[in-house]
Each structure stands twice: as C-alpha cells, then as structure tokens.
Symmetry: C2
Subunit: 343 residues, 2 copies
Amino acid sequence: MERLNVAIDAMGGDFAPANEVAGGLQAPRQSGNSFHLTFVGDESAIRQELAKHQHEGLSFSVVHASQVITMHDAPTAALKQKKDSSLAIAMDLHKQGKADACVSAGNTGAVLSASTLILGRIKGVSRPTIGTFFPTESGFCLVVDAGANVDSRPQHLFEFGVMGSIYMKLMYGKENPSIGLLNVGEEETKGNEVALETHKRFKNHPINFKGNIEGRDILKGTTDVVVCDGFVGNIILKFGESVPNFLKAKLKAYAKRSFWNLLMIAMMRGPLRAALKDMDYEEYGGVPVLGVNGVSIIGHGSSSPKAIKNMVLKAVETAKRKVNTEILDALARQANASVTSKQ
Amino acid sequence: MERLNVAIDAMGGDFAPANEVAGGLQAPRQSGNSFHLTFVGDESAIRQELAKHQHEGLSFSVVHASQVITMHDAPTAALKQKKDSSLAIAMDLHKQGKADACVSAGNTGAVLSASTLILGRIKGVSRPTIGTFFPTESGFCLVVDAGANVDSRPQHLFEFGVMGSIYMKLMYGKENPSIGLLNVGEEETKGNEVALETHKRFKNHPINFKGNIEGRDILKGTTDVVVCDGFVGNIILKFGESVPNFLKAKLKAYAKRSFWNLLMIAMMRGPLRAALKDMDYEEYGGVPVLGVNGVSIIGHGSSSPKAIKNMVLKAVETAKRKVNTEILDALARQANASVTSKQ
C-alpha cells in the first residue's frame, strides 16, 4: 500500500510557519515515518524554519504558494481573490488526489469554505459541519455544529447528528454512539420550533437518539454526540474556553487577600493544572469538517507545535478510517427509510 | 410611609415550607423589621415551621392557601386548575395591592405565567422576561433572557436589553449600563437572521449598546447586560451551573491517582471554595421577572434559607426602586423615537 500523504497549510495559524513546521515534523517522526507530509506555503519561509530542526530521513516535501489567507480575510472573498493561497493549494492537492487529507490552523471560515467549494459535499449532505470536542466528567463528547452553520433547519441538525455519530464510532471506537439534542428541557414538548421538529426527525429514525439534553449534560457527558445549531455551539464553545481564565482571575483575587492565601494558591497551581488538563482543547488535535468529499482538519489559530502534530496524526487516522464512505451510506439508508415509511 | 409588604409563596421550593420560613424570618430581622412579610400556604405546615424559630417582635403574618403547584405541574394548566395554590394567592395579594411584591422559589414556568397572567404586562412590553446573574472576573452581569422565551424576535430582544439595563441601573447603581448582543462574532455582519436584525435595532436607539459580544465575553464581564434568546440563555446558564461539578469530578479523579495528590486536593478544598464563592448563584438572591406590572422574584428550586432571605430583601429593594415606572417610560420614549425617525 502506498503511503498516505497529508497536505498541511503551513501559513495558516497565528504562529505560522514556525509552529506548523516544528509540529508537522514531529508527526512523521512519532509515527515511524509511516506517511508523507507536504508543507504548502512560502517556500523560503518554510525552508528557513526547516533549517532549525533535525529532519534527516523524515518523509516530507514543500510545495510553494505565493499567497496567504489571513485571520481577518472574509472567507469566500479571500478564496476567490487568493487563488494561490497556501490553503487553496493544499486543498487542491487533496482534491486532485495528490494528498489524502488537508490540515490547517488558519481562518476557520476560510478552511470550511475551501473544504466545501474545492472538495464538494458528500451526496446526501445538505450542509457540511464542524464538530468540536468538549471534555466530560469521564471523557469527552463531540458537539456538532460548533459554529459553521447558523439558522440550521431540522434536516441539517439531523444530518449533523448522523455524521457526528459515525465520526465517534470510527475514530474513537464507540459502539453505537448516543446522540442528544441540546435543548431547554428534557421533555419532548420543550424547545423552540426547530428543536421540536428536529426531535421528531431523530425519533423516527433507527439511530441511538437519547432525546433532548440540557446545557448541564455536556460536561456531564450524558451523550457521545451533542447536536445543536452553530449559533448555540459557537457560544457554548467560547464560553467553555473562557472558564479557565475566569478561574485564574478568581484564584488570583483570592491570593491577593492574604499571604496565607497566596501560599495556598501557589501550591495549588500544579495539581490544579494537572487535574484540569482535559480542559485543554489543543489535546484533541483539531476538529473535523464533516460532510465534504475528503479529509479536512481545522486547528485552533493559536495551535502549539504539539497541537499541530496531533492534527496531522488525526488527519492520517481519519483518512484511514473511511469516515466519508460510511456517511454516504448512512444518509442514503436514512433517505430510503424515509421514503419507505411514507409509502 | 406605610411599611412595604412582601408576599412569599411558602410552599414553592424543594424544601418548602422549611427553608421559606427559616429564610423568610431572617429577612425582616436583618432589615430591622422595616417591612412586613406574608407567608402564603398551608397554614398548619407554616405554623409548625414557625414554631421552630425565634420570631418575637418580627412583622409577619400567614395567609392560608389549600393547594400547591409542584415542580412537575404544567405551568399554565396548573394555574387554571389550582386557583387556591400558594403561588396564585400570593400573586393575587400583590395584584390587589395588599402586597408590594411576590417571591417564590417554586416552578419557574408557573411563577412566570402567574406573574404575566395575574399582574399583566407593562405597556410597551411584548414579552416579560427573566434575567439571570453570571459571575464575571470582576463582578457580575445580567443575562436576559435566561429561558423564559424561545424564538424571540428582534423587538423582544431589544426590549430585554432595555429592561435589563434599567434593572442594572436602578438596582445596582450602574450608570448607563452597557449592553452586548450575544452572537458568534463581533462584526456587525455576523450571526443568524434574528441577531442581524436585532443589532440594527439596538444601533438605531440612544442606548449604551456595545455591539455584538461572544461566548467568552460573559465571564470576562465585557458588558453589564448580555442580551440573548432564552434558548441560548437557558443552555448557557445550565452549562455554567455544571462547571463546579465538572471541576469536582476532575479533582476527585486526580486525587485518586496517588496519596500525595489526595493530600493536595484535600488541602485545596477550602481555598478553592472561597475563591469560587462568586459562582454560587444563590448569593444573588433570586432573579427578577421583568416587564410585568409588579415585583416578582423567582428563586432556584433548591434555595437555601440564606437564598430565600436574599430574595425577600431583593423584593423589598425592587419595590422601592420603581423599576417598572422607568421601564414604562423608556419603552414609550423608544417607541416615540422610532415613530419620529420614520417621519
């Protein structure tokens, strides 16, 4: 079998290309050189970073791209105007079959647009989506949609659930992952119009749907997959990300009150950090764009080298697990079931 | 000036009437008997609780009500069927002018319905709303709507902002409170359809509107008032309430790994609790129903005696500050401004 090739947008993140190169090189090294990595971006900048690292014998190459899509660019416009951007070129390599996956820590909206426009949607998928991981009391769950789509309709939310469920099964070995619909109450009669309709849609399909769940169920880990519109998903995600800083501010204020407090807080720092390691979103190694004809992994703009490494390794895994084939099949089955049940 | 009278639904909370009586009595005691308290509910049950406490010289009375609306009752149906419920009787006392405020830790939906149906809406208010307090790095903010209304339209959200702002000004002395619209990005062009339209509405009015804010801005305390639909507000509220338990679970798991860890975590318990005291929602003493012709304060079902005491004191304050008069005036002014600007 030929080695897989992962194209990485080396100019995407806030610390590009330094972190992209440093973290990227760690991935083939850690995996025993079992795949090939293609750095896409400004060649001289990339070579400059490469020179800083030991990379003898590692399987990688560099493809030049003269433009960069920045965090401030409007996604769709930037893709049209910057045809030679590192993101577009990396995604094109994947589209043409020269790479098996594309990874970027750049402008999230642009990565989503590039994935959808260049790779195209899987048949049966109305809207591609981005899932994100939340830590739970005993592990983690996938919240989908995490901000890619607002004003989602019931069919969209239903598809998010199906895709998220397949991803959790194939990537994390969860047998028959449970799906919860994020809502304002557990009862079937609770929620806004879209939630009420979505609940019915899930209920009528042979899928492991646990019904409505509430805001408190995310961290509790009540279900493996949490389905919500991207408006809610994005707000919760950013709220969750702000919790550590909030805690830090509170502990700092407490420490200031007395020397004894200061001492206690100083002692607590290590254990607290160790205990809350799961809240570090970068450990999850990027989040998948689900529903496109390919493997596209998006990283946090501020991704560390370690986060980049995890993203690349995740891309390799995702390409191997054939997530998209199963999404195609599942949505075709669901569509057939709907037709049959209506007859 | 005659003393204010607060009617308390003594049968509402999970620990009623014990906590209602214990906490209720603390309120006139703490305020130097400056107001009167009316316990409404099963008279013998209330008297039984009263017998457990020192209450000589405190200004209170008991009004009997034969029925109780439970946490499991469907709000509107329960109000129709249980005409002699403690909640309905307490609210009626307020409606008739025999009490100046009504306080309940019972079924939130039922308290909202009773407030709206019995007291009626303030002129100019489309939908009464419930605000809730979130701790911030340096204080607290009011998130409105916290779950009373789903599928809110732009005009509703606009009114929530106006009412929340007035409440923060009159109750907490914030001069010209800042208002943020909870959204998925700071740019004016971000968000779902309702958010885009709401942004415009705020922008066109002489109000301290800071534009869109994101999920991370709530705990950061970027604005005094956070405006959102109740679907989002409820989910964030419950997510936030679940954070302490999540932290506890993580610390517990960490403690189990070694004796040293256990020791550290045991030592941390006190300081951690002290540092995170602001996350205890009960400190805020209930949340207001805004937009009804009266003063209605809702408490958490599991309210402790201290929380009940704070709710009663807050009801007294709210009645004194004439929040509703200002809401009436502000919405009339805004309506006039809209008419004028359209001419």
